[in-house]
């Protein structure tokens, strides 16, 4: 059969389908209910999963999923409190060692912290953490500036009296004024404000990060004393190599801290893997429920379409006989009913997508997402496929009819 013939037959099949569906509007719509629900759930699931993964990627930096934290205490499994307490503190020389030797890292930042009164014009807000860090603090923490700038490497190394405010601190102390260029009292010293960090308290961000100020760590040591424990944040060059990065850090730290071979680490390298796990769990649950509902309703929809197509074939037995008499081949009849089942199901799919769209806007209230075009395309293809599969048995029956018998059918 030539391609042109096939095209004519497909077009004829489409024409017949639209006529048949128009002739039985109510029946057609009811038939596709299962498909509508199936496609609705598959698109919403796709949208939600897309939202979760986009949210995950957006916040991977914010929550520090690619950041290792060198600390005295482990975050989890603190069963041996005394042991951790008696560990040597993590000090600035450890930071210097990592900064110098690590190869799998993108940025390294130290963080020393204290709580001292922070005032502007005699006004003070709630308790503010003062952090001493380097110029890479922002990048390591996956943050960006709201206004102004972060302090430079020169200011950091030179211990200049400059300060960057967390968003909450800026909001509290400068409800109306522009803080940039103003002088801030930190303890007994004065620091010039050069910038404000963007708000962190959004989706899975760290709210306490808004209630901080950051000064160069050299300045911090001068004002508040250098002999103190710090935390070291290490951003991995590639999140996929997080484990290797961790191993490299261990090696560097054991040498720097002179841990005897065979002895246990006297430090902890913490990471946010629990959050990653939680993400995977949520995604898995959404996918599981979604796939279950989708499969169930598509199955119900497929049965509905198969049923209505059998009815349709029986109702149109005579018509099938007529078409055979004037030259339709068995394959032509098969194709016609497959197309009709596909179109019917596609109609359900389109209705499903149309209903899913406003619902996806609701999902967008909690997750950063919009209905992805790829999900719409997959959903519509899926509905056509389901229609054709469920239409196969009825279409096959139609194509096997004996033309004489079919013509005699009343």
């Amino acid at each position: 059969m030539k391609l042109a013939d096939f095209t004519y037959e497909v077009r004829e099949g489409l024409g017949i389908s639209f006529q048949a569906i128009r002739a039985n509007k109510m029946r057609s719509v009811l038939t596709t209910l299962g498909i509508v629900i199936g496609i609705l759930s598959v698109t919403l699931m796709g949208t939600a999963i897309e939202g979760l993964s986009r949210g995950f990627n957006e916040s991977i930096a914010k929550i520090g999923a690619d950041v290792l934290y060198v600390q005295k205490w482990p975050w989890f499994g603190g069963e041996d409190w005394w042991k951790y307490r008696n560990r040597k503190k993590i000090d600035y020389s450890n930071f210097k060692a990592i900064e110098k030797q690590a190869t799998l890292v993108k940025t390294v930042s130290p963080a020393a912290w204290t709580v001292v009164p922070v005032k502007y014009n005699g006004r003070s807000g709630s308790t503010v953490f003062t952090i001493g860090s380097n110029h890479l603090y922002l990048e390591t923490g996956g943050m960006s500036m709201d206004m102004g700038r972060f302090f430079s490497q020169a200011e950091s190394d030179g211990g200049r009296p400059v300060v960057v405010l967390g968003y909450g601190v800026a909001e509290n102390l400068f409800p109306r004024e522009n803080p940039i260029g103003q002088n801030l009292r930190v303890g007994n010293s004065t620091f010039r404000i050069v910038g404000v960090v963007e708000k962190q308290g959004s989706f899975l961000g760290d709210e306490s990060a808004d209630n901080r100020i950051v000064i160069p760590i050299e300045a911090f040591f001068q004002k508040f004393g250098g002999n103190r424990g710090i935390q070291i944040s290490v951003k991995a060059a590639d999140i996929k190599n997080l484990e290797d990065t961790k191993e490299e850090l261990r090696g560097i730290l054991r040498k720097a801290r002179r841990v005897a071979p065979g002895a246990e680490d006297d430090f902890s390298i913490n990471q946010q893997d629990l959050i990653i796990q939680k993400f995977n769990t949520i995604g898995g649950v959404v996918a599981g429920i979604g796939i279950f509902i989708t499969a169930l309703s598509l199955f119900v929809g497929a049965i509905g379409i198969m049923n209505i197509m059998f009815v349709s074939v029986t109702e149109r037995t005579k018509e099938i006989g007529i078409r055979m008499a004037i030259g339709a081949r068995r394959g032509t009849i098969l194709l016609q009913f497959l197309i009709e089942a596909g179109v019917l199901s596609l109609m359900g799919g389109i209705i499903g997508v149309i209903i899913a769209y406003p619902l996806s806007l609701l999902i967008n209230q909690v997750l950063p997402t919009s209905m992805p075009l790829s999900v719409v395309a997959v959903a519509l293809l899926l509905s056509i496929l389901v229609g054709m599969i469920s239409g196969f048995l009825p279409a096959n029956r139609a194509s096997k009819l004996d033309p004489v018998e079919a013509l005699r059918y009343e």
Binding site: Y8, A23, E319, M324, A325, G327
Partner: protein, 238 residues
């Protein structure tokens, strides 16, 4: 040359344990340009023979040559192709597609014949004009009278320029006046060179034909040529 040549055709239906012999040892040949009427009482095998001639059905045994080609051994697709290209059916119950308009009904054989849309439309319009329905192209069957529906069916049979037109009791569902119009149309088609085979059980309808084949119990009882120059004789009381 013979369009149709059948030799010793049998068609036997099995009904439970009983065999029904619908056609028994039928042989006949029909030339191009003939106008043949097949007559016989109900159940004599007329429709069975028509279905066989129209390649809708295959004989239980015997030979059927159509245009010199053995049809009795063709597969379904080959038979569909013969029906599409070579045969035009006209049925007692018109058998139009109810949801399609007249034009599309007439176009349909050309769709299955792989004719492009522009030619299809043109040929279908010509055929409908031929049967005097140029002003009814976009009417659906239920918007047409019985006579008009049968004209659409005849246009559909004509549109592919088939070798034969098979009409199974084409006036059976029409009143006498409309039936006469349809017979006049068939006669006109015959004069234009079409080969027509007509099934009827009405003597006055059969008299339009040039040859009458009479069936009884699945056998050819009589096969006679009618001399049209002879005025139909009136039954005179003896």
């Amino acid at each position: 040359m013979n369009v149709i040549n059948i030799k010793s055709i049998r068609k036997t239906y099995i009904m439970g344990t009983e065999e029904v012999h619908a056609l028994v040892d039928v042989s006949l040949s029909i030339d191009r340009g003939e106008y043949v009427a097949i007559m016989g009482p109900s159940g004599s095998g007329k429709s069975t023979l028509m279905n066989m001639l129209g390649c809708l059905d295959t004989p239980t045994s015997g030979l059927y040559e159509f245009n010199g080609v053995n049809v009795s051994e063709m597969n379904d697709n080959q038979l569909a192709r013969v029906r599409n290209k070579e045969i035009g059916f006209v049925f007692q119950t018109f058998n139009l597609i109810p949801r399609s308009d007249a034009l599309h009904n007439v176009e349909l054989p050309l769709v299955y014949g792989g004719v492009n849309a522009a030619d299809r439309k043109r040929l279908a319009r010509e055929a409908l004009t031929h049967v005097n329905l140029a002003d009814r192209m976009h009417h659906k069957p239920n918007e047409l009278s019985g006579g008009q529906r049968q004209r659409v069916a005849i246009a559909r049979a004509l549109v592919t320029k088939p070798s034969i037109i098979l009409a199974d009791e084409p006036t059976g569902n029409l009143d006498t006046k409309t039936g006469d119009d349809i017979m006049a149309l068939l006669e006109e088609l015959h004069l234009q060179g079409n080969t027509i085979i007509l099934v009827t059980h009405e003597e006055y309808i059969a008299e339009h034909a040039h040859r009458i084949i009479r069936l009884r119990d699945g056998k050819v009882e009589r096969d006679e040529h009618v001399d049209k120059r002879v005025v139909p004789k009136i039954e005179e009381p003896v």
